[in-house]
Symmetry: C2
Amino acid sequence: MKPLTIRVHPDDNVAIVVNEGGLPAGTRFDDGLTLTEDVPEAHKVALTALPAGTAVIRYGVTIGTANADIAQGAWVHEGLLQLPAAPALHDLPVATNVTHHEPLTGYTFQGFVNADGSVGTRNILGISTTVQCVAATVEHAVARIRKELLPLYPNVDDVIGITHVYGCGVAIDAPGAEIPTRTLRNLALNPNLGGAPMVVSLGCEKLQPGTMLPQSTLPILQSSPYVVRLQDEQHMSFGDMVAAIMQMAKDRLEVLNQRQRVTRPAADLVVGLQCGGSDAFSGVTANPAVGYAADLLVRAGATVMFSEVTEVRDGIDLLTARAANEGVAKGLIREMQWYDDYLAHGGADRSANPTPGNKRGGLNNIVEKAMGSIAKSGSTAITGVFGPGERVTQKGLIFAATPASDFVCGTLQLAASMNMHVFTTGRGTPYGLAMTPVIKVASRSSLAHRWSDLIDVDAGTIATGDQTIEEVGTALFHLILEIASGRQQSCAEKLGLHNEMALFNPAPIT
Amino acid sequence: MKPLTIRVHPDDNVAIVVNEGGLPAGTRFDDGLTLTEDVPEAHKVALTALPAGTAVIRYGVTIGTANADIAQGAWVHEGLLQLPAAPALHDLPVATNVTHHEPLTGYTFQGFVNADGSVGTRNILGISTTVQCVAATVEHAVARIRKELLPLYPNVDDVIGITHVYGCGVAIDAPGAEIPTRTLRNLALNPNLGGAPMVVSLGCEKLQPGTMLPQSTLPILQSSPYVVRLQDEQHMSFGDMVAAIMQMAKDRLEVLNQRQRVTRPAADLVVGLQCGGSDAFSGVTANPAVGYAADLLVRAGATVMFSEVTEVRDGIDLLTARAANEGVAKGLIREMQWYDDYLAHGGADRSANPTPGNKRGGLNNIVEKAMGSIAKSGSTAITGVFGPGERVTQKGLIFAATPASDFVCGTLQLAASMNMHVFTTGRGTPYGLAMTPVIKVASRSSLAHRWSDLIDVDAGTIATGDQTIEEVGTALFHLILEIASGRQQSCAEKLGLHNEMALFNPAPIT
């Protein structure tokens, strides 16, 4: 492949090297630019001389200030950039960049309709837990259910224990403790779990079943037992406890097994977007392609969530401009402020992100990372904002506030009622969730080729010019419908790659 | 059984009801006391009239102040008690109650000696992880190793993945973040893992293998590869990653399999004590029996750890009095102050403990719970204090500071190098750890009988007068040596009950 760079925006004074393995000093590009030193793959080269104090611009925004003179053709690395202050959270543009998109009709998938109106892309028995004390017992029961019962119910895709480290030994009334509690509640109500939750409780824990899952919200919980309490007198042994869990599971499996997929509009999808192990390609290949697919989904009436507060914080002005109205803009600002305060309270700030691997992948700081991350959100108006662990109840493009931590974000998006997940990566990660299919999109072809059994979509073809953003995004849109319908499985599903839930608990433990 | 109460200390003006199911109004005890109302099992009855404002005394200490007139023979429940302020952390008695105990010689167990001098009670292959991204892959590999490789190495007891939710998406330089990092390091060095750690890393994560496990501390890490990095170029697929993990595991299993148990003094034991799901019996049956066993262990030269800051906080004066010297007393005060500050910072205090089940079991507040909890520590001098996640390097009775949360405490005690675990419970919990045997002691015979396959020791016999504290404690001491030697398995081991690790991370996530 001939020497190639990607410049994202006409104002940019840096571009990234596309070629696998990077390019050596002396490399001359078609436009005459010559490298004065070796530049690694995905890392930035100065397109003009950048004297100390110059704003270094990528994505059309200042990602930092040169802290030394940088020659034209030199490698612009982390040590040369001064991190700018985060944008202030006042005087932001509101709804100044709300674009209109034509509705898209006729796109459907095959889903399982729940009593609450939500639609599952999978038909899974979820066994919720109130407290970690029961986790090992539930996992023991789940293994037996999977082996002994599940084969008898062919319309049920899986059985999973929703285990976690919350529920007791925690300050359950402290500020922030509402987050893990509502997360557990809403996880139990995820559309892929059929709307028929069951709960295993110890009995003495702080998070009681009636708090976790108020019966009043769900008619089904009033008509049949839904809690196995291990400390209840009738359980005369460990074997008794497991038998009780299995019996309730059997009752639920009978109900779930009678369900059939029916044709539903794409509007019933709730697609969560996330990136993890990003590199400098992510913002020009995988994330824009996902953003294009997001636009198609929103036009088709679906719910699309983007998240990861620290990875949008530096572009808050871009987001408030895309807010559909002032209320949405205020919601965005509220979530940014909450996270700023949360980090400051813990003696940290947004610069705790990115990771060593992000940096090796050419991302110098959180500004550059955020500009790439935001590309996932496409170009439609932002129509709603929800807090961590809240159930999303609106259509359109939603900001569902979460930490950027992959597993915490994934868990909170599941609680937000996600029934499909799209995950982009540049460095590569064997990520997977048990509760919903995860489609993994690589930012680089070299990763997609190497991890062919882990990566579903290769967006690296955008960097090499072999495909356009529109082509990859459209293909992804169709793949989402296929996998949602159960006609295909994602790589993580085929391999059974299921990371544990990771709750966000900003409150102390005791 | 005739009506029975237990009064702990001559100064007490309340006693607890022993009889299963409680006692009805009108019940007359041998001493003439008559119940004026129904009193549940384990709950308190007023031995004298307690006018409003009177100090309610149990264990010889004020557990609260009556906030209404309480008649002689009435039920003293939570609603009648005002929680006292926590003892101040200044002007505490220092080393005023240091007792002398005769050394105990001749007690041994059969253990696996490690290169660093520590001794394992089990011979387990532990696969450490730097980050949650690799957890699902490691669990996949562990399942295959257990099935395909472990049967070939009969001297190896088990293979476990040390998976967790830390390592990336976290503010790794924030105050408090040193705790999870050193916990993961010291978990890898637990005596039961043979001193030959291996690590699975993703590659791009914040917690890099060299930070988690500095090579300089372990000669074995310099002489052979110990890290499988999933992002390394040679792994061409998920299958390749799993194969690489299995190959390194095989090399480790070859070494571990050559080890044999040898006779070691009881001094090589590092016994962690914990309680979970406590009731009002815990402090008069199970915990004092454990305390008696702790005294025997300390006299035999072993390390005995007690923990759970919020559950000793109200007895800090009792502990500083037992400190072997001023340095130890200062250490105790330092850990109390740290936790007071941590809770206050999060908008909570020690009253976030106890749980609903503790209360149903007769424990009205954290003062009463703490007085019972401290009984586990026996009567010897406290010779050392260690922070959360630190490796304990001293013999004798050690305060290893941890939260009270069962799984967080257990994880931190494992990091502290625990090779045997004793866990007391009144309400009952199916607790278990993969890395070390857990002996569960019930505070009530009714629980021990009902959960006969989960409870190893019935200390309820102390309440009924069928056994003494000394008898149960001595039997427990001998059981610890038997199980440590591998001649017996604890109930949790037999059932394979293994809760996941739960790290303590006081720092924010990003």
